[in-house]
């Protein structure tokens, strides 16, 4: 919508939204600390991109569930002479799964906002964090296995 001042008649009839008011909600003011949903701001993106964002969320969420399952399996099936060894492997995997479960929604939300406002997609360091974390758990598991073999 144009916000150029009207020349004819000298009256600007274009509704000017006061700063802080939500698009689509001209009468509703936004508190400075109010966090709005993606539906309250910007333009609706192409549904294909919205759906792709949703599938990415689901993929992250499945990764989170996979980590929880791996942690539960480690706790159930690891047999070691070292006391607490199975917990050392299982708990980090499950905690990482919980973090990823929360992150998946945060990431979807950030992407949705960026698409609606036409901003660049936000950078995420989570893939790197996930890769390093899984690598560390794998190394710890390998060390525990070797130590267990040496002890027994």
């Amino acid at each position: 919508m144009s916000r150029e001042p009207a020349i004819l008649g000298g009256v600007d009839e274009t509704p000017v939204r006061p700063q802080g008011h939500l698009p689509g909600h001209p009468t509703r003011g936004r508190r400075p600390d109010e966090r709005t949903g993606p539906g309250d701001e910007g333009d609706e993106p192409d549904p294909r991109f919205t759906l792709a964002n949703e599938r990415t969320f689901l993929a992250w969420n499945r990764t989170a569930l996979g980590l929880v399952a791996a942690g539960a399996a480690a706790a159930a099936f690891l047999r070691s002479g070292l006391s607490g060894a199975r917990l050392v492997v299982a708990i980090p995997l499950i905690v990482l799964g919980a973090i990823l479960g929360l992150y998946s929604f945060h990431h979807w939300d950030a992407n949705e906002r960026a698409m609606r406002q036409g901003d660049p997609m936000p950078y995420s360091g989570m893939p790197r964090f996930l890769a390093y974390s899984v690598a560390v758990v794998a190394v710890i598991t390998a060390i525990l296995t070797v130590v267990d073999l040496a002890v027994t």
Binding site: P47, R55, A72, E112
Partner: protein
Amino acid sequence: MRDYEAIAPDGAAKERTALAWGRSAISMVAIAASITKAGVEAGEDALGIASAGVLVLVAGVMLLIGEQLSHRRHATNGSLDPTTTRAALALLSIASVFTAVVALVIILAT
């Protein structure tokens, strides 16, 4: 050359998304089985089976949500009120954190 944009304007994105919801629900069922096994192995049969029951229920809800979203999108040609999607995804996110907490409780209780 055929106009594939006219035949499938969304490139089957709606269908792929519906399938992704189904896969997520199946993952939840697999975790329910894994947690039941962990509970039974540790001698906590009741805790394991109760947790698995809740998780299977969550998986059923996920399937229903995915199906509902897919159905509404077919009706609106892909467009959907973002608040609905936001609520559904927030619910799934909470469910996965809940699953992690259940797994931790079972492991630490045994």
